[in-house]
Symmetry: C2
Subunit: 423 residues, 2 copies
């Protein structure tokens, strides 16, 4: 199988390294992988790959127009250019392997129907969960199951930050600064910490799980930048840890898909997934609960997932393609609007230590049909910053929004309320 | 794809149930599964499957000789008869799907070369870890990796017993009796509690991981029947839990494969796999550490793994078969003999509270080059049953055997020493 690769950055160079190291070993395993061409923005990026019999180019068209190439490997990232390249590659009869979750989430519904029409495969194991084989598990391992629920930790940056906040009691800005220094967070961390990257990945997992197209744009997303050390401490008091989760479940004919921080009970399998590890927990109707965990990012874990796709494809050129009708706009999931959600809640109110404030808060909650499971008031040094924490029973999201507006308007409440849902 | 199934017990009936429920759904997914014939020992077992257009028979030859059947599904268990059936099925050009770990471990090296010769597949996802897709992960997901280490909890009965002993401080015989009452343990539990079932499964995982044939007969096996509540308590004092593990690692050109109880640190991913759950932890050279967990047994989890194999095969009839040269006697792994193993140890000696016994024990250990990391002596009510617990540094197995012989011969030592290795 002849391969052309665009992108020789971290993941791309890892892929080349693994293939060069193992291609001899694979030959008697039915896997014959041959790198034919590499493309990058400039010849400078291709320094180090000369003298290896690879065609080096700065024009991706030299790869996607080359009829001798069987597979186009896209490892650049971004949306528009890669979409165009992949469309042309498919039109020219090439299979595609990519690690680009943003592209799959955003343009999958345009690309997969084209691949189907051409009887070609787009494989993307590396797009979610790095080296964890969760994509193939959902595509093939779960054929005998309906995935009824899936919750996942799929952003290593957020999980690293929350894990350190939990273990060491450090504040969010301090951990973020250190994560940036260590290379675990970008200079502009918005994409990770605000949950956008997780939402791309959840859209993919939810589409595969539901068999219908879950549109990334419609997923409710919030991040972790508002989580404080105080919230982490309260979570521990209630026997929980805070995790940023992607959550999918079936609700009759509709799909519930959302990304937000969650209180996760300490004995849940996801609670012990710490640091930069990713984890995907799912419940199948026949399988019951199951979990996969491993490195969600990094050069070699991600590269080894790209290589697994290539090896799979090498054996599968005459195989019936894995159907991807879950990325087709004619087959779009009906998403449950977030304000119809019913869930348990953690509220933290910051108040002046004024008599009567507790009564005002509880009466507003009660008026909005929010039942309280427990309530804790902490006396702290600053009498203008008393924490009142409420754990609710299952309550309706739209009632929560209304109640919080009323509570935040109270004169005795000195900071905006903080809320975190339970898993 | 036309299927014949022998065995309509727990797993077999689950497979039929899932296929009947989903076959319509699968038709536009490239998966066309049709059950053609069912075989069982007697027609009595086939009651309930009449009037469904299935050919019902008590002679398996009616399935394996039928040229219209593409896949032979063996769900009976046992060794000799299934081996003969599968050989004949392969000779007659049929793919094979089985859940029979004992058969694969014991006769795989005879069956897989025959399948290769005929360009047919034997799939066995259900043989290890029930519904966890660990077999396909090792066969295809890890192509870009060398599995350097694998440790697994692959016997639900043992894990249930040890988990309850840990959580509730109950003794081994009491938990076993309850497990038998609940159906988690057989009337004769030897196969499970002595580690034989785990060794069958480890032989399979170690063969797939190493790419060489790991002979089940040569794996060092010990079980959990000697583990006492006292050992569990001491483990907790040292920040560990006790698990029955299958362990595989590469040692240069040789393979280390063994099944025994282990001290597992509480923060290790395997430590939180409790009850009847199974878990497989592995380390790939590129992937790093990863874990899969889920139901290791039970009707529907196991049946859903069999169904996943059938669905995979339905798409793969024109695919290059997954190579299984790891089950070939000409490609047998060189196993590290257990007495060459170097590992940390927990020893528990039971002594009379006699002056000098501690000095005798430590001097025997020292003479046998066993370095002590820590030593604890517990005063208990019965002065003839004092527990002396030693945690060693990494020591050579053959030295351990010699030292224990000498210590057990001491007049002051009143019970045989107990030993558990560290993970």
């Amino acid at each position: 199988m002849r391969i052309g690769i665009v992108g020789v950055g971290t993941v791309g160079s890892g892929v080349i390294e693994i293939i060069e190291e193992r291609q001899e070993l694979w030959k008697n395993q039915g896997i014959n992988l041959e790198i034919v061409a590499l493309a990058a923005k400039s010849m400078d990026e291709l320094v180090g790959f000369e003298g290896k019999d690879y065609k080096l180019c700065t024009d991706v068209n030299e790869i996607i127009a080359d009829p001798s190439i069987d597979v186009f490997v896209e490892l650049v990232g971004g949306y528009e250019l890669p979409k165009q390249w992949i469309k042309t590659a498919l039109e020219n009869g090439k299979h595609v392997v990519t690690a680009n979750k943003a592209l799959i989430a955003k343009h999958g519904a345009e690309l997969f129907p084209l691949a189907k029409e051409k009887s070609l495969q787009i494989l993307f194991e590396a797009a979610v969960g790095g080296g964890i084989p969760i994509i193939r598990t959902l595509q093939e391992g779960m054929t005998g199951n309906t995935v009824e629920h899936l919750s996942c930790i799929i952003n290593g940056t957020c999980n690293y930050i929350l894990s350190r906040m939990t273990r060491e009691g450090i504040s969010y800005p301090d951990v973020l600064a250190e994560a940036q220094k260590l290379g675990y967070a970008e200079a502009d961390p918005t994409f990770d910490v605000e949950g956008i990257d997780s939402a791309h990945k959840l859209a993919i997992l939810a589409s595969l799980s539901s068999g219908t197209f879950v549109d990334f744009e419609k997923i409710h997303v919030s991040g972790i930048s508002q989580i404080s050390a105080t919230d982490i401490e309260f979570a521990q008091e209630f026997g929980c840890v805070i995790k940023l989760l992607g959550i999918y479940s079936r609700q009759g004919d509709r799909v519930d898909a959302r990304v937000h921080a969650c209180f996760v009970p300490e004995d849940h399998l996801l609670a012990s997934i710490n640091g930069v590890l990713n984890g995907v927990y799912l419940e199948g109707d026949n399988l019951g609960p199951a979990l996969q965990t491993g490195a969600g990012a990094g050069k070699l874990p991600t590269a080894s997932a790209v290589v697994a796709d290539l090896a799979f494809l090498a054996r599968s050129q005459n195989r019936i393609p894995i159907p991807m009708d879950c990325f087709n706009e004619n087959n779009t999931a009906d998403l449950v609007p977030i304000n119809e959600l019913k869930t348990r809640y953690y509220f933290r109110f910051t108040t002046k230590d004024a008599r009567g404030v507790l009564a005002s808060i509880t009466s507003i909650l009660s008026k909005n049909e929010i039942s309280i499971e427990s309530i804790v008031q902490k006396n702290v040094k600053d009498p203008h910053k008393v924490s009142v924490v409420v754990i609710t029973e299952k309550v309706l999201e739209s009632n929560v929004a209304q109640a919080l507006r009323e509570i935040d308007a109270l004169e005795a409440v000195t900071e905006p309320s903080r809320t975190i849902r339970f898993l």
